[in-house]
């Protein structure tokens, strides 16, 4: 558990970067610090591992004042991941990952073996260990950075905008990786970002900081979306927070209707309604518009592309989006394997929401 107690940081030029910050990052959870630039989020993070020391107030890790430990020793027990990865260019990937184990005195062979394990954990091929950072892509370098931070199995992981420098597709992959890792390892993670969507996706609890380093709200993400503390938070969170809140509402009780289907590769007679084309494994491939005439066996050329897919048991947001993006008005629901389960209707999603609100 990491506790900030009235922590303040004032720089010599007079700026107050952090102003009497008090919050507790729960053990085994991801706590996200988010806010516009100048809100002190990175400064706050860097005070945890004493890269910066506070002007006032104290930071405790598991009830121990961080100032009572030698900084270098403290940092060896904390994983630290930064935006540009900061990999040592003169060492191989494997030796980069093995840095902390070597520092705390493990033998070279043991450290390298551990490093190899970690490459696997972060989803990198073992052969990458012999390469140098300059030969890796941005996303790969970030993974190595995470591996290096985890090498000595520290209980705490600090991450300073680690995914901001990679492109959105890679970023999403890395975010999913982090969530997966966290479900396996259960570290106490403090994560800094300027992206509210990233904060909502990753955080168990989110701290919104405003310029001047003051805490505006500290709450779980769906509470942030439902009940922003003030105008600043509500505008920072964004205009479609109502829609985004749906990610946190479960879909129990949502009706799934049987859908008219046609099979790919079979002849398809013209119908008076939309039909969903499925392949041999039962996976949806697209919609066949009403009254289409198809010569011979049905192929994908004749189909209209479908909308997003809703995985049964997922959040209402997935269901609503599937329904809204479908050309036929039915959102396509699939199971974990991707096979068709049925259809959902936008109106029923909203009716379910209304009944939730009436209940609570």
């Amino acid at each position: 558990m990491i506790e900030f107690r009235a922590v303040t940081k004032r720089f010599p030029d007079g700026t107050t970067a952090v102003d009497k910050l008090s919050l507790t990052a729960e053990s085994g959870r991801i706590t996200v610090l988010v806010g516009p630039s100048g809100c002190g989020k990175t400064t706050s993070l860097r005070m945890i591992n004493r890269m910066i020391d506070p002007t006032d107030g104290t930071i405790f890790i598991d009830d121990l004042d961080v100032r009572t430990t030698d900084p270098a020793v403290l940092r060896r027990g904390i994983g630290y991941v930064i935006q540009q990865a900061g990999l040592f260019p003169h060492r191989t990937v494997l030796d980069n990952v093995a840095t902390v184990p070597l520092l705390i005195g493990w033998g070279r062979r043991k450290a390298r073996a551990r490093a190899a394990e970690l490459l696997e954990v972060v989803g990198l091929p073992a052969a990458m260990g012999a390469r140098y950072p300059a030969q890796l892509s941005g996303g790969q370098q970030q993974r190595v950075g995470v591996a290096r931070a985890l090498a000595a199995d520290p209980p705490v992981l600090l991450m300073d905008e680690p995914f901001s420098a990679v492109d959105p597709v890679v970023r999403e992959g890395l975010q999913d990786e982090l969530l997966r890792l966290q479900s396996e390892l259960g570290k106490t993670v403090v994560f800094v970002t300027h992206d509210i969507d990233e904060a909502i996706k990753l955080g168990d609890t989110v701290a919104v900081l405003r310029e001047g380093g003051r805490l505006a709200q500290f709450a779980p993400p769906d509470q942030l979306l439902a009940e922003p503390a003030d105008d600043f938070v509500s505008s920072f969170v964004g205009r479609d927070r109502g829609y985004r809140r749906l990610s946190f509402v479960g879909s129990d009780g949502l009706a799934i209707h049987p859908l008219r289907t046609v099979a790919l590769g079979e002849p398809a007679p013209p119908l008076d309604e939309w039909a969903l084309a499925v392949d041999g494994a039962g996976r949806p491939r697209g919609w066949l518009p009403p009254s289409s005439t198809v010569d011979g066996p049905l192929t994908e050329d004749a189909l209209r592309p479908g909308g997003s897919l809703y995985t049964k048991g997922g959040s209402l947001r997935g269901a609503l989006d599937a329904a809204l993006s479908s050309p036929s008005g039915y959102g396509v629901a699939v199971d974990q394997a991707g096979a068709l389960v049925g259809g959902v209707v936008a109106g029923e999603v909203l009716a379910l929401l209304r009944s939730h609100r009436d209940d609570s």
Binding site: V73, I82, G86, F88, H90, Y132, A134
Partner: protein, 229 residues
Amino acid sequence: MIFSELADWLTDPANWTGHGGLLHRVAEHLRYTVIAVLGAAVVAVPLGLAVGHSGRGGTVVVGLANAMRALPTLGVITLLSLQLGILRVGPVLLGLGILAVPPILAGSYAGVQSVDRAVVDAAAGVGMTSWQRLWRVEVPIAMPLLLGGLRGAVLQVVATGTVAAYVGLGGLGRPLLDGLRVTDYPRVAGAAVVVAVLAVLLDLVLAAVQRQIVPRGLRLASRTVSGVA
């Protein structure tokens, strides 16, 4: 004077062997060079590393190096020789050492400064002490510029080492100046050619050493940067 006379002089083994022969003079010249550069390195490398690593005192060090560059070596050596006695090696080594300090100082300082700030941050963040950061991360990465500085220093000292002969000592300046005095131009030109070749050879050797010492990861890194442009 024509090239054939020069060629004859250079290919005459009598000019190479024996006391006062070219081989002897080359050995002396190398000796002055090595001592002067090593002496300068002993002073300049730690200073440059310390200032670059701590980030303080850079302005002073920069100013000092630039001022030293402007000191005329011949002037320094003649003055010191008059004070400390002619035919003594001290003034020459000191003068050549002063010449060697600025490029080595510049190279070490620039080398440490050239380390990416994110890498330095990461090195601190993983829990390295200041000393560990310097030796395990900053110095290896600083190697290219540091060695470049050493190469530059060697080049300058070899070139200027002819001065030693002026105050009565040995080195390749001997045949140069003696030849001038008796208007034996093939000897003068021959000495000049040998100095030039020596400089080029030393530079090639040091370039090869540099390639060996610089970690492979760094060469790849710089190639990536320049490739992207």
